[in-house]
Subunit: 340 residues, 2 copies
DNA sequence: CCAAATTTGATGTACGTAAATCAAAAAATC
DNA sequence: GATTTTTTGATTTACGTACATCAAATTTGG
């Protein structure tokens, strides 16, 4: 049987009340007594029964998710996964609120974060916009002991406790490797379609992609990035235009707006053997993978990201450890044979 | 606030004791009364607080993991992950026991399962050996209300509640697709190294591999399977011999014993451009991926499989639902750029 | 209608922890 | 040494559920 507070009290030769004072860092305990209790805790290997404690406290975990108000499949999916988590709230003792902020707007994000400082949720998960002022508020909140995890898009250099998302540089590198290997001995040019180079994850994917391309596939030339603003219409136009260039042998789509990409490919490239790699598994990209318009899809599992963020925020709020391997967000690679 | 047993009692106009009798299926309640209580439960949307219930019951979950006594990296890793879970037992209220049985020995497995029928653990996770007599005991145990999940290797056609492992047919198909695409226009022969065709997961991988190869890559001929018995020495000999055939352009290693494969490749194929795809990420395959001896690794995450099996067995024991998406075991694809 | 059997209610204890109260003891201050 | 302050102990209640006991009410059988 694992030891209880009673065992600690007996071992330390103090009363239950004193043990409680030490455990919950209440005042009114001398240093020597505190030390005695802490020794007993260590020696008996006491671990607080979190379930019993939460029951006694009637504790819930008020969590806030901050998302950009972007109208693309991925953000919709992420939103849906959070709402799924809300349905599980009773069992998980969570109390989840979603706040949408204008996309690419650091000031708005900062304002929301400042507001939360007063509201005192027990954890914050946010899709970070990469800007110095955001970093500053995040660091301030972390110093005020708010657990914060970044979601999907990280805020490097900040004090955030954890990043629940994929390694985007590795994703770009992987895309380059697959594209390069799929193309084999062919020479030619590669079109890259991104959302915006102002978004950190897109920049990182491109960075990883370009570096592997340059180093390992010198026969393939990466063309200047097409910025489709994650909009299917814009993407369609840009790709359709680009495909006028007969030297293009491959396409890497590292952002959203794949619906436009797919349409352009079907119109313009029926007779050509383009190799195409895209990000994010949606109904559209899935269909395109099956009908061979796309050759591979790189994906991050939004459900895993949300569940992981919740687990981590709860653990941080309780000062508990997490299982690192469980919280690593993988880069899923799909070809038509391993679709879920 | 979510409703409690008290609310149910009040709503149904009965006492707490009666609600308790209904909830825990104790005798001594008339049909009409039972129906009243059940209606109240439904209408208030009552969900039992599992944490509080477990606290009151002093409940633990005695779980049994049955593994083959195979001496390969994957099984060692699986074993290690279970021991990690044992370390978390206090917090998770589990009580995990590992039983090793001789590999490929249905009779031994059946004997162990029969024994468990008396011991009454609240859940069983097993690496299944695919044999009719095993299926029969598993079905018998399921009918006796034991939660059972198969781990890594499934027992299709049985009544097991869940399979915590990858889709091996899809894995084989994926390997074929990657190999075929990596080889591009090259023609030649493909060597396949397996452990044993008596093991279901190996048979399935081969089946998936061969079908995609035949259907989509007619220029690549799959050679007869080399059965390396998951033994590095045997694998080394077989592969070294096979590489005498200059027509071989690719290798698919779908089992264990990759240490032998890698050694043979480094000795015999320095001057050749073989494309190699192997299963299971270990220290050896990882190194080989990095030094370009292997081109891609397909992997199943043993840690995820173990944690998933535990979650599912606990949920089944409590009659709770699971999050399906969370329990899907993915086929991880690693190239040198997305190694964890 | 009475006795026996069944069903229901009332109540208490327990699980491990949190949190509060009040009294008692010890330490610090003058 | 008396007084104030700080520290500690003892005890109680609560969280939501499980489970046991005993009494009371209701139903059933004869």
């Amino acid at each position: 049987m694992r030891p209880t507070v009673h065992d600690i009290a007996a071992a330390a030769g103090v009363s239950l009340a004193t043990v409680d004072r030490v455990l919950n860092q209440r005042p009114g305990v001398r240093h020597v007594t505190r030390a005695k209790v802490e020794t007993a805790i260590r020696e008996l290997g006491y671990i607080r029964d979190v379930a019993a404690a939460n029951l006694a406290k009637g504790r819930t975990y008020p969590l806030v998710f901050i998302l950009p108000a972007s109208d693309n499949s991925f953000m919709h999916g992420l939103n849906a996964e959070i709402r799924q988590a809300v349905l599980r709230s009773p069992a998980e003792r969570t109390d989840i609120r979603i706040i949408e902020v204008p996309a690419f707007d650091p000031a708005a994000l900062v304002a929301v974060l400042e507001g939360l400082s007063r509201e005192r949720p027990c954890g914050i998960a946010m899709v970070a916009t990469d800007a110095p002022e955001v970093r500053a508020v995040v660091d301030k909140l972390v110093r005020e002991r708010f657990p914060i995890v970044t979601l999907v898009s990280d805020l490097t250099g900040s004090l955030r406790h954890h990043y629940a998302g994929v390694d985007n540089i590795a994703a770009g590198r992987t895309a380059a490797r697959l594209l390069g290997r799929f193309l084999g001995p062919r020479k030619g040019e590669i079109a890259v379609l991104a959302g915006s180079m102002l978004v950190r994850d897109h920049r990182e994917r491109l960075e990883g992609f370009a570096s592997v391309m340059a180093a390992e596939f010198p026969d393939l030339a990466v063309l200047p990035v097409l910025e489709g603003r994650d909009d299917p219409e814009v993407a369609h136009r840009l790709v359709a235009d680009a495909l006028g260039n007969a030297g293009i042998v491959g396409v890497y789509s590292l952002g959203a707006g794949n619906r436009g990409l797919i349409r352009a490919l079907k119109e313009k490239a029926v007779d050509r053997t383009l190799t195409v790699i895209a990000h994010e598994l949606t109904a559209y990209t899935r269909a395109a993978l099956i009908d061979n318009t796309i050759d591979a899809i790189l994906n991050q599992d939004a459900g895993h990201e949300v569940r992981s963020a919740i687990r981590i925020l709860k653990a941080k709020a309780d000062g508990l450890a997490v299982i690192d391997a469980q919280e690593r967000i993988r880069l899923d690679i799909f070809v038509k044979d391993n679709l879920p």
